[in-house]
Amino acid sequence: MSQKVFIAFQDNDNARYLVEAVMQDNPEAEVQHQPAMIRIEAEKRLVINRATMEETLGREWDVQEMLIDVISIGGNVDEDDDHFILQWN
């Protein structure tokens, strides 16, 4: 059985960079556009890297800033200063 993790963001300016960074680090992930939101799903694992986000944004970025734009997630969360990881075991 397929076991997808997912994350959904508000479709706003911040999310544009998040999606860009996520796709760079998780090329196999699928992006779904729905009214006012963007949902990204991937098999088993999805990672957001601070380094990629900072590169994309061109500024310092705290992983917890993500809390402002996230709508929902599915999967076990592991967060530290450098990553936000969603996964099923």
Binding site: M1, S2, Q3, K4, V5, F6, A8, Q10, Q34, P35, A36, M37, V63, Q64, E65, L67, I68, D69, V70, I71, S72, I73, G74, G75, N76, V77, D78, E79, D80, D81, W88, N89
Partner: protein, 514 residues
């Protein structure tokens, strides 16, 4: 420990500001300080194993919440200043907000009370902090929802007394009793019920596709509070999953207790969400996805992945999940038909779907809509257009547990009501399903006291013997103004005025507002 970095890393900061703020009591026994931690039979051997994956501390919490609020209220202001209510797709949509304000927002407040209470009950500092943050979140949700909808209250009927109505209106006893059941349970059951079963497994179905639908119907205020609340929910959901894993890892004796709670609260939540199903399929003029599709994505797919993950703890998917999965093709139609026929006692308007909406329903529900529901809907539509709008003037039988009328049908035969009946200590009790009947049998003392609105009316406890008196005096609904048929209502009239359309000649003329 010497601090070398100028800035603490996330893990250290969490440790300092959460665990290290707690202390071991010396002159009082722990059992006396946390007297409710034991009685449910959950065994916790090491609270330090509790993980908050977001590692959120108070300072970061205030910072990010303040930012969310600033964004949110800027949008509320813009919405009000620009008469945002005039830009929604159709005033029928506002009825979903009336249901939301009286049915969901009070639950946010109940959740605030619930987390404030259980946060006091855990001897682990990590759990206490997490519950405290969540309590504040829930209070925020309740407030922002009321603020957002106060704008609609200036322009449409039926939004004037939601808190009063939540405690009295017959169908609002469904969400109310759901939360009362959770809040009157012990602290671990409360977390399993609300943090895990509701937040993690089921609230996506309320807040994600419905709020996306609000956006699709031009309601900027609602989508904004919805997604702002949901940004907190993402944290709550994560916590819900961690709570379950933590409890299961602590002791094997916890597994059967948690399984029973998951079975119970999945079923209760699934029943409660029937209301959301009908909001999605019938109350959003522009539709994002059907209830069945939402159920497939957010329960069958996401829930499937979740329960596969929990297998290693000895947890199986909730009992009667198969019944719930089959019901995805029925519940929204059954619920809407119920509200349609008892609309003289609701705080919002109902209507029959228009031609193209019926077509959409047939497409989205190819196996069920035409076969079981279209005939009754077309009959009602015809009756309404001929001036005999159908109302059911006899009160319905209610389920003793979920308190929903016994409207659901059998999984294997959707033309037959699902009804269960037992005798307990000489009294007869009736249920909508095996799921609800099992919940009763596990804790009969809890449910024999249920305040069932239909029975309360018949006992004479709701201000009068006839529907009009109960509705007006006890529910505070303006009969025929706030409720009943949408077409020809003052709200409908106001909408036509807003859109500069001519008033209808009669009920038989089809409206063309768009």
């Amino acid at each position: 420990m010497a601090i070398k970095n100028k800035k603490l890393n996330l893990k250290d900061k969490y440790q300092y500001l959460t665990r290290d703020m707690a202390w071991e009591p010396t002159y009082q026994k722990k059992e006396d300080i946390y007297p409710d931690e034991q009685f449910e039979g959950i065994k916790i051997t090491d609270w330090s194993q509790w993980e908050d994956p977001f590692r959120l501390t108070m300072d970061a919490y205030w910072k990010y919440q303040a930012e969310k609020e600033k964004k949110l209220y800027a949008i509320f202001d813009a919405f009000a200043q620009n008469n945002g209510h005039q830009n929604i797709t159709d005033a029928r949509y506002v009825n979903a907000l009336k249901l939301f304000l009286s049915g969901v927002s009070p639950l946010e407040y109940a959740a605030f009370q619930g987390y404030a209470r259980v946060g006091r009950q855990f001897s682990g500092a990590g759990a206490r902090v997490a519950c405290q943050l969540q309590a504040i979140d829930e209070l925020r949700h309740s407030q922002t929802q009321q603020h957002a909808m106060s704008h609609y209250n200036k322009h449409f009927n039926g939004l004037h007394d939601a808190a009063h109505q939540h405690d009295r209106i017959w169908f609002l006893s469904v969400p109310k009793s759901f939360f009362d059941d959770a809040r009157s349970a012990g602290p671990f059951e409360f977390l399993t019920a609300i943090s895990f079963s509701f937040e993690y497994v089921l609230t996506n179905l309320l807040f994600v596709p419905f709020m996306s639908g609000a956006a699709y119907n031009g309601d900027m205020a609602t989508v904004t509070f919805g997604f702002s609340a949901q940004s907190d929910e993402a944290r709550h959901m994560t916590l819900g999953l961690e709570v379950i894993k933590f409890i299961l890892e602590q002791h094997e004796d916890n597994v059967p207790i948690i399984q029973r709670w998951i079975d119970k609260w999945f079923w209760r939540g699934f029943r409660l969400l029937s209301l959301v199903g009908m909001m999605m399929d019938y109350m959003l003029p522009n539709k994002v996805m059907s209830w069945a599709e939402a159920w497939e994505v957010y329960y069958e797919q996401n829930g499937g992945a979740l329960f596969k993950d929990l297998e290693r703890y000895g947890i199986r998917p909730p009992k009667y999940q198969d019944v719930a999965n089959a019901a995805k093709n029925h519940v929204s139609h059954q619920a809407w038909g119920t509200f349609y026929q008892y609309s003289q006692a609701t705080n919002f308007h109902t209507w029959m779907p228009e031609e193209e909406e019926m077509t959409w329903l047939s497409e989205k529900y190819p196996e069920t809509f035409d076969k079981y529901y279209r005939a009754r809907f077309e009959h009602w539509d015809k009756e309404q257009k001929e001036g005999r709008r159908f109302y059911n003037n006899t009160l319905p039988q209610l389920c003793q547990v979920c308190q929903i009328p016994v409207i659901f049908t059998e999984k294997d035969d959707p033309s037959v009501f699902s009804h269960r009946q037992i005798k307990h200590e000489g009294e007869r009790y009736h249920f909508c399903s095996d799921g609800c009947c099992d919940i009763f049998k596990n804790e009969p003392e809890k449910y024999i006291q249920a305040w069932l609105p239909v029975h309360q009316i018949y006992q004479g406890n709701c201000g009068g013997a006839d529907v009009a008196t109960v509705v007006e005096k006890y529910y505070h609904i303006n009969l025929g103004v706030d409720n009943m048929e949408y077409h020809g209502s003052p709200d409908h009239q106001r909408w036509l005025d807003i859109k500069g359309l001519k008033p209808l000649q009669s009920n038989s003329e089809k409206k063309t507002a768009a």
